[in-house]
Point group: C2
DNA sequence: TGACCTTTGTGATACAAAGCACACATGGAC
DNA sequence: GTCCATGTGTGCTTTGTATCACAAAGGTCA
């Protein structure tokens, strides 16, 4: 395999579990900041639902349990969105942030691995409302290929590359058993995918420019137990 | 050289999405370090499966995509486990780390919210082998209370506190809809739970000394889209 | 035994991110 | 128009963490 760096995570010395961003991306914005933007979007969306037009960094900070200064600093990486003495326009800040993150459009995604976990993922109703459409499903098992699950025809992994191009899929969601995860991720990368959401319990190697985020509840539990005693 | 790790979330003074550890814990060990330990445990376990007795920080670092120095530094917070010129004994280091994390015992957990997501969680086969036993299930809906799901009798949330004590439950897993998540988390805290795994898309408020880890695939996707273009 | 090689453990250093504090816009009151 | 209250945007300071670099420790073999 090639030995370009695989580094992960962040542009930063953050080295946080389950996040791997190789963003060789020139983006001078720290990765941690990018990760907080969706939180702001979510909070703003809730705020506007409750009928508010304007919000201060203080209010937003109280809701998200962070300091107002950090929020202002984060936003300042992208421009000046607030009015002094007044605060931020809720709707317009939300819109600006969505645009920065690329959330003002829909994204086609695919799930690879149609076992128990993959089925749960494709039937999870939380993705579509946020613009993440699962448009293809794959599996390696011939007994599963050909089935229709949640309206998706399960296809053979050998067709991955072709379908990715055909359907303009930009994000891969990996739900295969851990022993096949690296090869599936390699296949996604070969197919040109740059963003991978990985449910398998491993730290995959990916080339620069590919971002991987891991979802690993066991890891989360295992680090919490440390704090239970003391 | 640059390096990185990946996986879930982060630490305290860092305010990273999905992690909130207030642990007023006196532990002088940085939270990020605690979060990396389970990665080491996992890698060591794989190593010993492949028949190796000894591993160097360099080998471990290669596998986990991080610098050897960071691994040695992390370990040094807890003691001296290696032999110079040789490396670490795989089995014994794994055992020591498990002990530090509290993984050398089993933990009783409960899932609150028996909707689609909760059912997926209780039937997920990845928890038990790691010592996390789900011993109770709760829901607020009277139609669901009384059902048996994956061998668990679903109980009313009103019985939460009682059952937590009766079954010595130490960890709560929250899979209720977001609009009820904060109240359920409050109830867990009232019941004496100190560790919460939260699947609901919000940043819950918890008192000092309670650790919350969030599992939020949508947030992960939303921060990845930023890097797709550029 | 001692020369040599490897790999640890750790003080010192570099750097990134968080928080502080204040200058300065802005809007409202009068 | 002037004054005041409010809350942004940001340079500077502090904090936290990753990395460097090297002394000391163990192993090996002549």
């Amino acid at each position: 395999m090639d030995q370009r760096a695989f580094w992960t995570c962040t542009a930063r010395p953050m080295t946080t579990p389950n996040i791997s961003n190789d963003s060789g991306s020139p983006s001078n914005v720290p990765e941690v900041v990018i990760q907080r933007l969706p939180l702001y979007v979510r909070a703003l969306s809730q705020f506007s639902d409750s009928g508010n037009n304007v919000i201060s960094s203080e209010q937003l900070g109280r809701r998200l349990q962070m300091t107002p200064a950090q929020i202002r600093k984060d936003l300042s990486y992208f421009g000046r969105f607030g009015k002094q003495g007044r605060g931020y326009n809720v709707a317009s800040l939300e819109q600006r942030l969505r645009s920065i993150l690329g959330l003002d459009r829909a994204w086609n995604t695919t799930v690879i691995g149609m076992g128990r976990l993959g089925r749960a993922v494709v039937s999870y109703p939380g993705f579509a409302p946020e613009g993440f459409n699962i448009v293809a499903a794959f599996d390696a098992d011939d007994d599963i290929v050909g089935q229709t699950i949640s309206g998706l025809d399960v296809q053979s992994i050998s067709a991955l590359s072709e379908i990715v191009k055909e359907k303009d899929i930009k994000i891969g969601i990996v739900t295969v058993p851990v022993e096949h995860a690296q090869e599936v991720i390699d296949a996604l990368v070969d197919a040109g995918i740059k963003s991978i959401l990985n449910y398998a319990p491993l730290s995959p190697k990916v080339p620069d420019g590919v971002t991987v985020r891991g979802i690993d509840p066991v890891l989360s539990l295992q680090s919490m137990t440390y704090y239970i005693n003391e």
